[in-house]
């Protein structure tokens, strides 16, 4: 069964112009898609994330700062250069182009979710998501792309920050923000970003 999946993944790849899949990435592909496109709800999309970000997450799983029953053993199969080979491979795939919405295009957002995304809620010291995650959540530096990510995954992560089963953020910045979000806001934000494609 696993072999079949790998063979299938290789077949898909051979038709594309992307880099060849490193052998160590084959296992990842079974839940994340052979081109990192994501398999909802098994595994989030990896395409569109930076190589640095993916590599850092693998290490966070390995050290238990991100707790996930599947990913902890899976991440341990990657050691040394394999971490970067896998990260480079999955980050090389393109994702749909999203025309970014820039701050300042609007002063007033009627939708409270959009207001959180583009202006935040500073009465609760929640900054705009796009400050760190980039315009329309396209991702920047160490901050992952949110646009087009699976809603179920974003929701699980925000809850993981709240439950302290995910950490590794600089000075707990993301954890502190997630702690302030209501469950309704988490649902709405997850849906909002997932639909930005």
């Amino acid at each position: 069964m696993k072999r079949g999946l790998i063979a299938c993944a290789l077949l898909v790849l051979s038709a594309s112009s992307y880099a060849a899949m490193p052998p160590s990435a084959a296992l990842c592909g079974s839940c994340h898609g052979s081109q990192g496109q994501g398999v909802d709800p098994l595994g989030p999309r990896l395409a569109g994330l930076s190589s640095d970000y993916i590599a850092k997450q693998i290490k966070l799983f390995q050290t238990g700062k991100r707790q996930n029953a599947t990913m902890q053993p899976m991440s341990m199969t990657l050691q040394g250069d394999a971490v970067y080979a896998v990260a480079d491979y999955f980050s090389s795939f393109d994702v749909p182009i999203v025309t970014p919405h820039l701050r300042g295009e609007k002063a007033v957002y009627e939708d409270p979710t959009e207001q959180l995304v583009y202006q935040g809620d500073w009465q609760r010291v929640i900054p705009a998501c796009v400050t760190c995650h980039g315009p329309s959540g396209l991702g920047v530096g160490e901050f992952p792309r949110l646009a087009g990510q699976q809603a179920s995954y974003i929701k699980n992560q925000l809850m993981a920050w709240q439950k302290d089963t995910r950490s590794g953020d600089q000075d707990g910045v993301m954890g502190a923000i997630a702690d302030k979000l209501t469950s309704a806001e988490i649902d709405a934000l997850s849906k909002y970003f997932a639909e930005l494609k």
Binding site: R103, G104, V108, V130, P135, G141, Q170, D171, V173, I177
Partner: protein, 352 residues
């Protein structure tokens, strides 16, 4: 002969250029910072959704838009990658992050230094010249009117709410807007007038950045580099140049050609330390120790950046005249050339 004649003509046609060539006014005179009070209540401006429709409301909204996306003025008035909202948190609404609502009611302000009364628009022009390393919009321009209107509306709506007045903020003429709110003839609702004196309105709690105590050890860029790596680098980059996505540097550069210049208030170590201690890491506030804030402020400000626009060729002269404060302009750190000697250009084009 022909060339010099032509250049004379150009200068005579641009009086603002002539003034700049002579001497730039010191519009970024240091504010008197105050210590933050525990349990202090701050002015809360109204939600942007209550900005009225119509011409006046459009000016207020434009002010907001220029403030959060200052890059729409790139190559006209802005000469670096910064947006006003990089330092003024929550688009100039957040207390202790130099809120616009507090600044507006502190101008016009008499400055002993140049024996001149500076209007609010002149203060804004200073931001363009120094913090944005650009060329300021002209007096009365739509940009300065809009930024003044936004500041006024934030401040006045907060003062009115505090005084229990729920009506719309009164519209002001453009020429009044750009003066600032600290005027005898300022239009104020009676309840606002009686709630506070003019000096009280000019010193609203949360204005500027809160003062912190002097460090126990003299601040050190060397120790600061360790603080930087541990707490700042993930957002601002190992090279301090920030990160860009879709053309926007919401994680701003802190030094180098795309950051604020040697004349900006933030280049002073104390101002940066106050800002950092209170506002960094982003949205966490007060995570660093007093010493760490001072040290990292020193580290950031002991790096080369765009030239002080008042520079006329002599670093020492400029240092003696304008840099008698806690800063590194004209100072050699770690045996390197004195800072300012390799400064970057003023108001470069994006393509430069």
């Amino acid at each position: 002969m022909k060339v010099s004649h032509l250049s004379w003509l150009i200068i005579s046609l641009s009086p603002s250029l002539l003034v700049q060539a002579e001497e730039l006014p010191d519009k970024q005179t240091e504010l008197v910072a105050k210590v933050k009070q525990v349990g202090q209540a701050y002015l809360v401006p109204r939600d942007l959704s209550s900005i009225p429709q119509g011409e006046f409301g459009d000016k207020v909204r434009l002010g907001y838009q220029l403030f959060v996306n200052s890059q729409q003025m790139r190559d006209s008035y802005v000469g670096n990658n910064l947006n006003c909202s990089n330092c003024h948190m929550d688009a100039g609404r957040h207390a202790n992050a130099a809120p616009l609502w507090a600044a507006y009611f502190a101008y016009p302000a008499y400055r002993k230094k140049n024996d001149k009364v500076n209007s609010y628009e002149e203060r804004l022009q200073g931001c363009f010249t120094y913090s944005m390393n650009g060329t300021p919009p002209a007096s009365g321009s739509k940009e300065l009117v809009a930024l003044s209107a936004y500041s006024y509306w934030l401040g006045m709506s907060g003062l009115m709410d505090q005084a229990g007045i729920t009506t719309a903020v009164a519209e002001l003429s453009d020429s009044d807007l750009i003066k600032g709110g600290k005027r005898e003839d300022m239009l104020l609702p009676e309840a606002v007038k009686t709630a506070m004196t003019q000096p009280e309105r000019a010193a609203l709690p949360g204005k500027g950045f809160p003062k912190i105590a002097a460090p126990k050890l003299a601040y050190s860029p060397k120790r600061g580099s360790e603080v930087y790596q541990a707490h700042c680098q993930s957002c601002h980059g190992a090279d301090g140049q920030g990160y860009e996505s879709a053309g926007v540097y919401s994680l701003p550069p802190l030094w180098g050609p795309q950051s604020f210049n040697w004349g900006a208030g933030m280049h002073r170590v104390n101002t940066a330390a106050y800002f950092i201690y209170e506002n960094m890491p982003f949205s966490k506030s007060v995570q660093l120790s007093n010493q760490q804030a001072w040290d990292v402020a020193a580290y950031i400000n002991a790096q080369e950046r765009p030239q002080d626009p008042r520079f006329t060729g002599d670093i020492k002269q400029l240092k003696d005249k304008y840099h008698k404060h806690q800063g590194y302009y004209g100072v050699s750190v770690d045996g390197k050339p004195e800072l300012g000697s390799k400064a970057y250009g003023n108001n470069p084009k994006r393509s430069d």
